[in-house]
């Protein structure tokens, strides 16, 4: 019988701890497949964040470092500047990248650090138990906005791709989703483009991936897919927000 698919080499045999219906496992796999297909496993170095994906340092089968909440882009900067031959990526959630680490995100893009950020936007804090994230939608309930996010009290959700697209140093920015098979395929293409941007020494790249967190939204995995399609997509439109090549062409 012909084998049509298998576990990517760039994932270890470690059993993932993610909840049923969570999007991290899909995103991990896509990143690993890109590393495999670009043939860079032997020189890939990943930064694991604080949050549900803290254990990514066990799951990716390449050199890994785990750092303080929000500081992934600074850590990746230090690694890339000292080992420019390495392919360096920082995997981060929304609280990590868009709240506590927003300064590092913006400034690594402004410096056009030749690194790749994988930004998982599931609109909620996962590991700490469902608190309001910078990406939580208006009206969305969380454990720190029990009556729903109120703009007058909590302000508005942040659109990171749009924000970074204003910076000259940001070279490839795309927002995708993993809530359906078709979107998973598109996400992989986006990730590959982002890594290629780094391999071509073009500078900063980031893919924002809308992802499911049914556990902390208090809904079923099926409902969570619907939540992304109906609630997140209007707030976070998918698409390419920056592409250096497209501009030139």
């Amino acid at each position: 019988m012909q084998q049509v698919n298998k576990k990517p080499k760039s994932l270890t045999e470690a059993r993932m701890h993610y909840c049923p219906g969570c999007g991290h496992g899909i995103a991990h796999r896509l990143v690993a497949e890109c590393i495999d297909e670009l043939g860079v496993q032997g020189r890939a170095v990943g930064v694991a964040p604080v949050g549900c994906s803290v254990f990514a340092d066990d799951y990716f089968n390449c050199d890994m470092i785990q750092g303080p909440h929000g500081r992934g882009p600074a850590i990746a900067t230090g690694i890339k500047r000292c080992r420019p031959q390495c392919v360096v990526f920082s995997y981060q959630g929304d609280g990590d990248l868009a709240s506590i680490g927003m300064a590092e995100t913006i400034h690594s893009a402004a410096r056009s650090e030749n690194i790749t950020l994988v930004f998982i936007n599931n609109s909620i804090y996962g590991m700490t138990g469902g608190q309001m994230a910078p990406t939580t939608l208006l009206g969305q309930k969380s454990t720190t906005s029990p009556k729903g996010r109120d703009a007058a009290v909590n302000g508005y959700p942040i659109r990171v791709c749009e924000l970074l697209s204003q910076l000259e140093g940001a070279r490839y920015l795309e927002r995708t989703s993993v809530h359906s098979a078709a979107h998973v395929i598109k996400t992989k293409k986006a990730l590959k483009k982002a890594f290629q941007c780094q391999l071509d020494n073009k500078g900063f790249s980031m893919v924002e991936v809308l992802s499911m967190c049914p556990t902390n939204l208090g809904i079923t995995p099926k409902e969570c897919v619907k939540f992304i399609a109906e609630k997140m997509l209007p707030q976070y439109p998918l698409g390419v927000y920056k592409d250096l090549d497209a501009k030139k062409g």
């Binding site: 270890t12 032997g42 020189r43 890939a44 170095v45 930064v47 694991a48 803290v54 340092d57 066990d58 089968n61 390449c62 050199d63 890994m64 470092i65 785990q66 750092g67 303080p68 500081r71 600074a74 850590i75 990746a76 900067t77 230090g78 690694i79 500047r81 000292c82 080992r83 031959q85 390495c86 300064a103 590092e104 913006i106 400034h107 410096r111």
Partner: protein, 363 residues
Amino acid sequence: MGEKLLMKGNEALAEGAVRAGCRFFAGYPITPQNEVPEYMSWRLSEAGGTFIQAESEVAAINMLYGAAATGTRTMTSSSSPGISLKQEGVSYCAGADLPIFFANVVRGGPGLGNISGSQGDYFQSTRGGGHGDYRVFVMAPNSVEEMGNFPLKCYETAEKYRVPAMILADGILGQMMEPIEFKFEAIDPKQLKAPDWALGVNEGRPKRIVRSYDLREGALEHLTLSRAKRYKEIEDKEALCEEKMTEDADLILVAYGTASRVCQAALKMARESGLKVGLARPITLWPFPKKKLSELSARAKSLLVVEMSLGQMIEDVKLAVECRLSVHLHARCSGAVLTGEEVFQAVQGLLKKSKKGEALCSR
């Protein structure tokens, strides 16, 4: 090596680090240490290294965390408020056993304080500084020459024991100019052996992980205890202390850094007045030279700790001498400058009291 140069303390610190093999610096402006990043900005590119002006102290220390994880000799510098911001990152480096090097050119505090020299960050430096159970190797220079020559010792100690190492200076040491001779051959980091834990090109070897966490039951305690063994070894082997005229001294001044320079002037005045005074200067603050202080306490009648802080090092001195003799304090704080005269007066006051039989010598 060999040539005498005239340099500012901050520049000597930066040059000393580059000669010791530093090839990555990330920093953020804050007075009175600005000459360090300014110097590094051109010097490191000349040396084939990387200088980054980070967006914050927090980013700077995390750039170091990443850079040090590749086995590169790294440095950051700041002054008190900025060092407070870096402490989370230093704790991560300690927890991940990364040998980073940093310098605190201390200013008056607390808060924004002022930009004068101070020793108010002694506790922060010698007790770890950030969260969790850890220690940092701390050297306290008292001259521009030592500012330039101590970074090498910091790198070597940091790498040998896999701990963060720092230089605790102050605004006066950072800003003053003195002659300096670098007493070691400049090191080419390419000639150094790559550590077996460094991240980078991982083709053909098992993956490596740098991290400071372990959630498995009992595992973190095990890790911290194994680190504590190294701390014990550092305490046994690496403590440094300089003595002046302690052999026949009734009263020994204990001071580090700038305060020890002031004490040298007071010591001269005291000796010229026929008073038997000596000086003990801790060069490493952690490990604190406990054994040396303990030895001295068996000889002298009393100690006078002189600090540019409310009385922080005096706690370590008291612990070291275990109540064998009386320990006094002369302190100025928050950027106030000590003078030799005032220390001399304090010495005279104490020795007068002791003549009258007042409780100076409680031995």
